[in-house]
Symmetry: C2
Subunit: 623 residues, 2 copies
Amino acid sequence: METVNTTDRLRQLRALMKQHKVDIYIVPSEDAHSSEYIAPTDARREFISGFSGSAGTAVITHDKAALATDGRYFNQASKQLDNNWELLKQGLQDVPTWQEWAVDQAAPGDGKEGKVVGVDPTTIAAPDGRKLGDKIKKKGGKELVGVAENLVDQVWDKQKPARPNEPVKVLGQEHAGKKYQDKIEDLRKELDKKKAAGFVVSMLDEIAWLFNLRGNDIPYNPVFFSYAVVTPTTTILYIDESKFEGNVKAHLMGINIRPYDAIFSDIRTMSKDEPSANGTSNSASTPKRKYLISTRASWALSQALGGDEKVDEVRSPIGDAKAIKNSTELEGMRQCHIRDGAALIEFFAWLEDELINKHSKLDEVQAADKLEQIRSNHDKFVGLSFDTISSTGANAAVIHYKPEPGNCSTIDPAKVYLCDSGAQFLDGTTDTTRTLHFGEPTAMEREAYTLVLKGHIALELAVFPKGTSGFALDTLARQYLWSNGLEYRHGTGHGVGSYLNVHEGPIGIGTRIQYSEVPLSVGNVISNEPGYYEDGNFGIRIENIIMVKEIETKHKFGDKPYLGFEHVTMVPMCRKLIDVEMLERRERQWLNAYHSEVLEKTKRFFKEDQRSMGWLERECARY
Amino acid sequence: METVNTTDRLRQLRALMKQHKVDIYIVPSEDAHSSEYIAPTDARREFISGFSGSAGTAVITHDKAALATDGRYFNQASKQLDNNWELLKQGLQDVPTWQEWAVDQAAPGDGKEGKVVGVDPTTIAAPDGRKLGDKIKKKGGKELVGVAENLVDQVWDKQKPARPNEPVKVLGQEHAGKKYQDKIEDLRKELDKKKAAGFVVSMLDEIAWLFNLRGNDIPYNPVFFSYAVVTPTTTILYIDESKFEGNVKAHLMGINIRPYDAIFSDIRTMSKDEPSANGTSNSASTPKRKYLISTRASWALSQALGGDEKVDEVRSPIGDAKAIKNSTELEGMRQCHIRDGAALIEFFAWLEDELINKHSKLDEVQAADKLEQIRSNHDKFVGLSFDTISSTGANAAVIHYKPEPGNCSTIDPAKVYLCDSGAQFLDGTTDTTRTLHFGEPTAMEREAYTLVLKGHIALELAVFPKGTSGFALDTLARQYLWSNGLEYRHGTGHGVGSYLNVHEGPIGIGTRIQYSEVPLSVGNVISNEPGYYEDGNFGIRIENIIMVKEIETKHKFGDKPYLGFEHVTMVPMCRKLIDVEMLERRERQWLNAYHSEVLEKTKRFFKEDQRSMGWLERECARY
């Protein structure tokens, strides 16, 4: 993690700002699709600031530059930023948010004129842009303007990596489970209900899901750069056709294919042709219809469609549909998690053997690489679903730890080892965390592990009426930690894609208020990952993927279905870290049943692998 | 419950509507202070429609009239409404809300001109008025206008009861625990933080709390008709001075007293004198300040202050402060609940004796009257805190059941008896529900009671970090019912006033999203009342009042305090209805400890009352 000299880059950027009459320029982390992970070509904030973390925003004035990021990255940012930059530690008291900082810069006060703030409108979500613009004006700044050409790209110029153009393939019916034509028909029913002119699809995973296509343009996410527009009568996919591989062209028969870059001019025309939603059409009988975009669609899309008058921002109906997996996808999830579990079992058995019997010195990256190699031998493996968190001792307390080759710790067999990893398979996406100990855990480590396990079990055993959200269930996972004065500072569960992004909305289990807006439904796939982290000491996390299903209850009040969970992750819990005395009867029953199931479903992989089989049988022994 | 002939009233109202150029007139339930309970003089919706339920809105056009109410009142409304009225059953599918109905009436379509909707602006909250006005315009209606004179009052005229003018008394420091001058100083600090010109106080319980005064203008609520204005330098109380009793005048030394009706003209002037919040003042150096009103303040108040430009609607800082009881109030709550518990114990022992030993025929109202009489013998008793719910068998399944004299059921000793009641004492407000059985409960009744009890105990034993809301805890009370396919359709807890309204915000435990916005804090007093209701058969509810306190936990992650609850209600649970086999160890421990405490704290009341003492000892025996 080296400091980057940004003096020259900033000088060039400021010259361009002058040219475009912009006093303050904002560089968000996001690409044009609000992607959580981005391709190198979209890493503009990293290029201009030198800070390479996954989250952060740069704000540049003619004489200052600020980089805002959160607690995960305070250390890294202070190392990577040079003297040109001020670090805004988000979440600390009395530190302004980047929005507040930008608004302050835009309002010089003392009777001076307000300043112009610029941003590439493809890199900021429409509601965020609108809110920021309102604040700037309210506090005495001039305005927020969308600058169509990205100014950082112009500085970057020749050094800038090209936009990826990886192949796009058809996801067969045996994995998708539903024809894309039927998905589009379902979407049209939603458009009809909402009396909408059409839906402009901007999220890359939504497009991949909608058309049953997968790509490889963004690390870990099998998506491809594209937009789509679905109206009651037409479907247009905006994509570079040179990406098509195999039978994609035939698969998309009847779909209008247009170049990726054509989206903005196309929707500008489309929207003009649509009679205004506010009744300024020529004929009174023409229906008043708006285009729908997702609340995460860019300001640029909203503007191209004609702004508020012409656009409704909604929680994406595709996101909602995608979160409810069909039976093929659910079965794929079960199957890929058995293979993935077998890989983890083989890896943990190998790691224990290396550390304890062979006294090997292994660092965190070497372990992660071994795990990837084992995983890659399994059927239908495509790649990892995110950077493996392979962490020893105190590193396990860093919730988003990412070991760097040559700059990571050697695994200490006398400390906990936390491994959070997952893969993309053709039949599903996995995400599993296990915390292990190869020596003698401390009393506190066992206590914390067992409290986390109790919360994990309580959430999985929860039964709840249809209509209940993940917000309402979150406390179940935390209750035992809380009773002992312990807590974890992250959510309990995130939606998981089906051979798609490992994090997907709109569902979640946690204290974020948006999780209260979407009830959990049969077919949802979500993680269950409580934890506990002691800074500088150790970290615990136990993560299974669980799927929402209907539960047969003894009674049935109000003829409403009652729902619960089915686990698909197949990896034993850590015997050494469980204090079985702290478990109640139903928890012990759960644990025994889980371990029998794991053993039953994965043992076929170890017929000729005594090390793994021995480890598995030992860890799965009955309590 | 008789049908009221409203033909003549409606004819007169419609004539007045014509005079005021109003096509559609809305009559809400609320008084000018958004009170949950209202005085007879404010029962305008009841007068015009004939429907006497606590919730409902009437909408009258020149040829139609609609009354909207919720599921609790479908039966009652259909009996009370005459042929002039259409009943809008709120919550049923395909039934419009009263807002939708009014908006539809205002937008005739077919090129016809939109219509004018009128409402007395004192009877609708400002945000509700604004939302309704926007919808009317958006859908093609003309506009929503505030009609200053209440048109129903003009029809009602001489028959209309006078506004109550009950005495107002000082609540002594020994009960209030904090001088009102200090409360006003605290409020000024909030005004200062928010750079506000002042706070216009509209909620009656907030005024009573702020000035340490109590009145009797509204049934069950010891409040008095008034407004108040607090600015950084002045305090004005708008009240009819003829209400003052004893030392009120001296108590209020230094407070500017003005007539109740003077509020609107006063704030109109005040607001004009305040430089505009949007900088249209003459001098640039004058601070830009707005007046604060509660989000439940009336549209009339907001208008008088000059509307959006001059007003910020906020969650009331007084409501927030009031919800955090001081140590005197907390101790008062403990003490009044011991006396109130003794009254309930005496009542239940009497009732059992009457029904079982004396085979008396008692109806629900007779039982409630006896309970009131017993309560009234206790120290510091002022009155009831709400209509007693005294209900036998299937009536117990009606969540808001109110037995009517001469028209209620005889208590059946072979069925459950549910009693939800409370009182106002000088030192606090009580609210207790117990469900009893005097004969042989069915298996289902015992199972349901025990599941409700398990949830009640789980909520009380909850430990949670500071910052946790009642929304996050609600599931703890429901989890055991849910696991068995059972559920209750009401909240789990409401804030309770200190010798004030039995329902008070802003805290609550339940699924309403606003409960997620306010964390529970040390000093909050709240009910814990899970239940289960089987239509036409039986109902169960177990309600204690609990207070938030800091808990010493084994560990303490993040140096954040961990909070939990202390119960103050002192009445045994029903032995016959508990299936002790369904209880876990910690639940049995809780029950035994609770019963010992109830016995210890209430037995002094029964030294010469063998019946009560015998009943108490039997119910409190150890498991």
